[in-house]
């Protein structure tokens, strides 16, 4: 490699190199069920991606919506989808959602 970083173990085996990796974890955030959230302080990088998973969810009888999200600057916003609202226009039917933000 012309520049960058690589580490090797005591046997000389390559463990990590800046050439064979791309994204790095910037932060994790948890949105509670049926609740909107605004997370601040998300590190800013030129390129970021967000992944999300449903926590504690395999239920046979609910609609199991996942939070929608948007990432702008240092703010990650998680919202209950409008389609998930109940007949009384309350936030409902949305599971706990765990977010991971990666960047490079």
């Amino acid at each position: 490699m012309a520049f960058g970083y690589e580490s090797r173990d005591s046997n000389g085996n390559l463990v990590h190199s800046t050439e064979d990796s791309s994204y790095t974890l910037l932060g994790t955030y948890t949105a509670n069920a049926n609740t909107d959230h605004t997370f601040t302080g998300v590190p800013v990088m030129p390129t970021r991606v967000v992944t999300k998973i449903m926590l504690n969810q395999v239920n046979g009888d609910d609609e199991a919506y996942v939070h929608q999200h948007s990432l702008s600057g240092s703010t990650l916003t998680a919202t209950v989808p409008a389609a998930a609202y109940d007949d009384g226009n309350n936030r409902a039917n949305t599971v706990q959602t765990f977010f991971m933000v990666f960047g490079k």
Partner: protein, 373 residues
Amino acid sequence: MAFGLQFKNAAADIIVDSEFPHYHFIGKATYVSTMQVPDLVDGNNTAHSTTAGQYLSSSQVNGDIIKYQVDTANSSAPPPMCFIKPSATGANAPRCAIVLTEQDTNTTYRWNIWVLQERGGTHSSPTSYTRPDLYCFSPLTHMTAGQRDVGSETLGVATFNSSGAKTYDSRLKPLKVVGAGVATSAPAVARTGAKANSWEPYFTVDTATDYAFSTSTTESNATDLMFYAPSLAHSCQEHQESTDGEGFQARGYSSYFYAWGRADLWYCFYRNTFRFTSSTNFQSSYSIYASGHFWKSAEDASSIFAAIAAAALAFVTFGASLIVAGAFIATAAITAAFTSSGTASGTYYPYTDDSRNRLEDVTFLLSKASYYD
């Protein structure tokens, strides 16, 4: 950054930053067991209604629910990040995905991870595929003592954040993401094929969406790739049929004409699953999580037309009759079946002929199993 350490690659991407809680390899998840959601089959018969077809369709093949466990160090540990190393790749490889991530209620700091993997064959003769491996990652601060053990290795680089917590240790196999992509939508429904075939409606998944990806130049072997792509979308599809008949019941002075009607409802509950079809293509589709077949029979001896009308009513009110299905779910036999399988009980019919979360982006991250073997 005001202080600390960053490593960048040739494209100036930041690969290591001492302030960030980098994920490190904590081992493969421990395999626990393989189960399926029990068959959801029930209905009523009248004196003369047909008893044909009181089973699941041959295409209603529930996938394997493969259960794993992963330990972490403390209550504040985030869920482990589990990459699926599929047992096969290609156009005929089994689709799979993580469908459950939950903290175990019996063992502190343990996570239960369930993978849904489709099965082949037919309902009466299903075939399972080799289960995938889960390669799991966690920040250093949440690893158990055993996971943090570096043995006798003394060479390497470690970084610490401004609070003094270790954030990176090259001896502990940091996560290497070799590629990423976004599956912007799951198919609208799981199957579009012809629905009707008497007592054998069609539920085989026949929709998929492909997403091309690229990896860093050193990665080209699909069989070594593993993916992180949680299952968010789900779909519920059904098929309804009705049938009826009439006749004369000879009983001397009590002879009578009768008519009967029967309405049937089959359905499958699908979860979004994935596979590598090549070293450059990631496919999003569905696999069957649960299957049901319920029927409702009615009979009337006073009027042929009244019986048929009753059956028709049953047909159009099947949604409400799922209360009956729910009652069936609560019966001792099916409760025991759910308990035995360790799956959540329910009808698995949360909505009708639709999907949820299908337009939510699924960011898929790629890594290589050989880095950690």
